[in-house]
Symmetry: C2
Subunit: 348 residues, 2 copies
């Protein structure tokens, strides 16, 4: 604890200005890594362990593909993207998960992610109009959990209690992730919002894991893991809507990247980007953590990094909204905005 | 800008833990000051100017009392507390503001604070059931703005445009605040969420201003300002509900302080506490700013400071909720919590 409080401060990566006064300063760290482990860019303490939260859903889903469960259940790319998603609980998202569960003979009651209101307004309004409560299908993690249940079936493990850290499904997820990130096992872990274990990881390890998915042959060799990682990455890139939802950061940034990146955020300011090689760009993995957990600052910093490494155009309005959001008050007066700062300041 | 990004980091004042991993670190600065200007406790950069936002409503309301407008309009302590409030827009709050405006021959249309949905759920539900939109009366600042309009009338100034920085009402507010805080004029300023000007202030100046209200005779001498400041402070202490609302931090912390403190938060992690002398405790002013703007961290740090200076009992559940909030996930699993850290770590 003490060392974490007293450790040198990470640099300021984003600042919010109001009337020319700096009103908020968001510190954080990031690492940009090649598949061989070389760090090509970084700021702040990249050796500190963070909880990557939903940013690692692709790695938690690797065993679903590697086990053969995905093929046995004929999961298409859309379903795989949904397993790697933090979705907005729209009818399109929750409906797909319901159908998936039905196809494996399970249902909403088998999920252990808990219920929360859908993030999509139309879905919330529909529930209210129908006088219904949100179900676990609306949980942003319900696709990941459908994947967990599918894997449990494949492994012949009980579906009940599939979120326990010593359940075969979670042990497989931990193993896949720790190997990708070169993390020691047993890893530190915590219970996520959706009740699944979430594994602590050094920021540089998280960037390495992302880089290996960006270049699976260099990262994982020519075997099953490389093919499975590429398949999940390509599913996310092909289906940005499934990964989040209309107007959301991951979806819009992936649409703006037009095939150049798979991007996934996690709670409390964590983010990864998987940048395959192309047009002279090297394959890279990006991992980012805003120390105070601010989502808006994490989106700004990630947008700046995507611009820096050629994945998106800073003039694209979908990028601009994250890179330099403007603040207007209740009467529409322009009062300030957020911008990347310090090592991510594009004007320095 | 550069100096604000490159300046030495403030200390960590609060950390969020999940499964033993530090998931968020909130840095900030605070100053605790006596009415004579002596700093008795501080951490971080107390010379940096911040935007205190709603934490300075008492000072923005001083001219309402000093001008004689409050007495001329027979504003009781409840109304004065409402002028210093960031209220939750309950029927009790918005109804009082509506009546106040009616008594001075004005109405909702004269407000320039803008509308936002009431923070109180019952009021939101009532609006939805009635198919009505929120009005400016629901704005958390509507009491302050009723005060501005009342002062404008008293000064013979136009009520239209009363939020302009060069309007006599705002010039009076700025003068009262700059004098209390020993700030240079002209002060830096920004447009607040409610469209009124908000004045930049050094954190030590904000603490001094609070300390002067804690001991008005030592702080302001024996004149009108001292009497007016004491009247507003005592109105807040007597009417904690008016200052915020049921279950809200300022209200509950003031109730827990039972007369030992007037407490006011502002947006983006700013906070002040006014601690009058009593039972061997000296009169003190407390000012706090969390650098990243996190409200929960600001409430935690303020609760820790109130405990340290004898204003509240850490075992009081209304204090405990801010000092050490526990996090439970969607299925009710205990996943971690927030606690004061660094110079505010009560265990160190």
């Amino acid at each position: 604890m003490t060392d974490l409080v007293d450790a040198p401060a990470d640099p300021v990566l984003a600042v919010a200005l109001r009337g020319g006064v700096v009103e908020r300063r968001h510190r954080g760290a990031y690492a940009v890594c090649a598949a061989g482990g070389e760090i090509v860019d970084s700021a702040g303490d990249v050796e500190r362990r963070i909880l990557p939260r939903s940013a690692i859903k692709l790695f938690q889903t690797l065993p679903l593909v590697e086990s053969g469960a995905a093929d046995a259940c004929r999961l298409d790319a859309r379903r795989l993207a949904l397993a790697c998603a933090s979705h907005e609980g729209s009818a399109a998202h929750s409906g797909q998960v319901a159908q998936w569960l039905a196809e494996i003979g399970l249902g909403e009651r088998d999920l252990m992610c808990g219920a929360h209101p859908p993030k999509e307004k139309a879905a919330r309004d529909a529930l209210r109009a129908a006088g219904e409560k949100p179900s676990q299908l609306h949980n942003n993690c319900s696709g990941k959990h459908a994947g967990f249940l599918t894997l449990a079936r494949r492994l012949g493990a009980p579906t009940a209690g599939y979120v326990a850290v010593d359940h075969p499904v979670q042990k497989a997820a931990q193993e896949a992730f720790s190997q990708a990130a070169d993390e020691e096992t047993p890893m530190g872990w915590a219970v996520d919002g959706c009740s699944a274990p979430n594994f602590a990881v050094r920021l540089r390890g998280l960037a390495l894991a992302a880089a290996r998915v960006a270049d699976p042959q260099a990262g994982f060799g020519c075997g099953l893991r490389a093919a499975s990682a590429a398949r999940l990455r390509d599913a996310m890139i092909a289906h940005p809507f499934e990964v989040a939802g209309a107007g959301r950061a991951c979806t819009e940034l992936m649409e703006a990247a037009a095939g150049r990146a798979a991007i996934k955020t996690g709670a409390e300011g964590s983010f990864i980007a998987i940048l395959p090689a192309g047009d002279g760009r090297p394959a890279l993995g990006v991992a980012l953590k805003i120390d105070d957990g601010a989502t808006e600052a994490a989106e700004c910093a990630m947008a700046a990094l995507l611009v820096r490494f050629g994945a998106v155009d800073p003039a694209d309005p979908r990028v601009r909204r994250r890179l330099a959001p403007a603040y207007r008050n209740l009467r529409g007066v322009d009062v300030g905005g957020l911008r990347a700062a310090g090592p991510l300041d594009t004007k320095s």
